[in-house]
Symmetry: C2
Subunit: 394 residues, 2 copies
């Protein structure tokens, strides 16, 4: 079989383990005699369009292992949706470089970008094997049981809420914590993993999947204050009212990326607005709000071991599937093997399965009261996150 | 010598290692035949006034060791400044309980509260040995080379900035990170420890010790964008204009505690306001702001080893000093032993040395350009924080 070169790139929001997938793919590709050059495009599709590559045969295995443990996207990222013209320019580049394999690591928008590239290649008759490698802290790919990046971000969130709940025990009042997740509430739901003791927070959890009502929120907080004498709230940045419009988006800058996503992270506006509501309507004096922000996807040294290993394996699996040649365009689905002990399985699936649309937290994971998760969610999420630091109270 | 009972309590903002000091003091007290009951007052002075105690002879050593590693104040905290009437009520309580030793763990306001109790006891002729045990993530006690709590919070901040800088490399633009520190910029300065490579952020550091000018800020950001193509800013929540008034306090709720401190943490208002300035005046599109908030003092599992050991030793030292009886009211000063290798030393000093007034970042730690720290600061802070996670870039 003819030796072909490969291009790999990263796209969308970085995570703590997206470099594991990069390194997993690169080390797997280095094993194959059918792959020639291994080129990393800087800043996703923009690097291909700008002919900006890193030679990924050069770094030592030791260096790559450190890269794998380094948070964020080592190749840089972008939020670019390619159009037909972009694709033609990409194939012109790929022809010059003799590229036969293209791997794109990212979330649903990145999967959609890869799908567009793959479909345009077919239309143009350019022979290209395209694989999407899943990544998103939001855990919202329809193709996966869970996504690489989620376990580590969830570990950060659960740890943060655990510490913050202890802090709230000391000084009391209401604490509001805003957690990432534009459309899906998985990451906010993971805050529940912080609970060890019966009175541990988070006492209230609000997901984008349940329409948010200010009146219910005020009543819930008052009830929690009565029960616990304090209240820690884990609230998704994506909560929306009955009209379906995200409350944070209404307060934000209105800035949009080329996939049409409105900016929600990188501002404390939602937390501050909700704190004002509680101060004024629930008449509680000490109300504080924190927005966990970009630390959720970038904090070094706290990644979940399971998540790291699976992200690496997802990268490997994509290269293996591409070389196997069953399909010319695919995505790697991470599934959960049946059985008592948690184990992940990896499978190549049609790329469209991961592209564009997202999945939400299913109803069996949402408590009936509308402000908590179910034990089924805890069972689902615990093995992805791993053991949290042990704490004690007096 | 007569056996007397002791009361210990925690006050002010919690930290990741304030329980180390509590446990250090309790385990030291358990060794002495001269100490009878060991009572932990819940929520500082409020627990004494409300007769709300925990028997600290009861928990096993194993349990206390877990408490020591648990962030936040296990006894609860308060921000109460006692007046003469409060003190009389305290001594009435202490008389009933036969209390001869009182230990108060906290920052400058807590030291001042302990000083007031000690001085009122003298006036009343109540025999009481009072020791303040230092704690503050702000590192602003005049009595100490550095304070327990600072090294761990600094470790969180440096780690967070390290991850956030990698995130900013991936997607570019300007990132503004707001860091705790009402009056002193030590914690913000510690962000500089995140730098490994020459182009690593933070690219700009603003401390409360240098009057903040919006025009300089805009120019600094534009210059950094030109040099690095991106910009990460570490900004103290306490930055103030030429008028000396904190900019964050002007934007905040105006809420004050009984020591007269205005609320600054627990809101994203300062970061959001500064992001707007850059968007509008520097004409940069992608500007994000995060406020690290309470995670800086409460995140579990990231405490500095040196800080943990020193906080424990500070608690031990206070009990040893109190039993030695050199002074009836003191504070434990943490000093730095001279010599090439870093080593801390502990000494009993007059309680007034730690009380009320704070210290600022000294001028030899502030770069002449007004937006950075000096190598002398790095040398000062590095051993307190310890080794940070290793990262690599492509």
């Amino acid at each position: 079989m003819k030796k072909m070169n490969m291009v790999i790139a990263q796209s969308g929001g970085p995570s703590m383990v997206i470099n594991q997938s990069l390194v997993g793919a690169v080390l797997e590709a280095r094993k194959s005699p059918r792959i020639g050059r291994i080129l990393g495009a800087r800043h996703g599709i923009l690097g291909i369009l700008g002919n900006d590559y890193v030679d990924l045969r050069k770094p030592s295995v030791k260096k790559l292992e450190t890269i794998a443990k380094t948070p964020s996207s080592a190749l840089g990222s972008c939020r670019k949706k390619p159009n037909a013209d972009d694709c033609r320019a990409i194939f012109e580049e790929f022809r010059k470089l003799d590229v036969g394999y293209f791997f794109y690591i990212g979330g649903n928008d990145s999967a959609d970008a890869a799908r567009i590239v793959a479909e345009e290649a077919e239309k143009e008759g350019y022979p290209l094997v395209v694989y999407h490698i899943p990544k998103t802290i939001d855990n919202d790919l329809r193709s996966c049981d869970h996504t690489p990046g989620f376990g580590s971000a969830a570990r950060f969130v659960a740890s943060a809420i655990m510490g913050d709940d202890l802090d709230n025990r000391a000084l009391g009042g209401v604490k509001i914590d805003i957690i990432m997740g534009r459309d899906a509430g998985f990451l906010t739901a993971a805050s529940a993993l912080a609970r060890v003791r019966e009175d541990d927070g988070p006492h209230l959890i609000y997901l984008p999947e349940v329409p948010f009502s200010e009146e219910k929120f005020v009543k819930d907080v008052q009830a929690a204050m009565k029960k616990y004498g304090r209240c820690v709230c884990a609230i998704s940045e994506g909560i929306r009212g009955k009209d379906g419009v995200a409350i944070g988006a209404k307060l934000g800058s209105g800035e949009k990326d080329s996939h049409g996503n409105v900016q929600m992270s990188g501002t404390g506006a939602l937390g501050d607005a909700l704190a004002r509501v509680i101060k004024e309507k629930a008449q509680i004096k000490r109300v504080r709000a924190d927005t966990f922000g970009y630390l959720q996807r970038s904090f070094p040294g706290v990644a979940s071991e399971t998540d790291q290993a699976e992200a690496f394996a997802a990268g490997q699996s994509a290269v293996m599937a591409a070389l196997k040649g069953e399909r010319s365009k695919g995505t790697i689905a991470i599934l959960r093997a049946k059985g008592k002990k948690y184990q992940a399985a990896f499978a190549a699936r049609p790329i469209a399965d991961a592209a564009k649309y997202t999945r939400s937290v299913p109803s069996e994971f949402i408590a009936k009261n509308g402000h908590d998760v179910t034990p089924a969610f805890i069972e689902y999420a615990r093995p992805l996150v791993g053991k949290l630091p042990e704490t004690a109270t007096l």
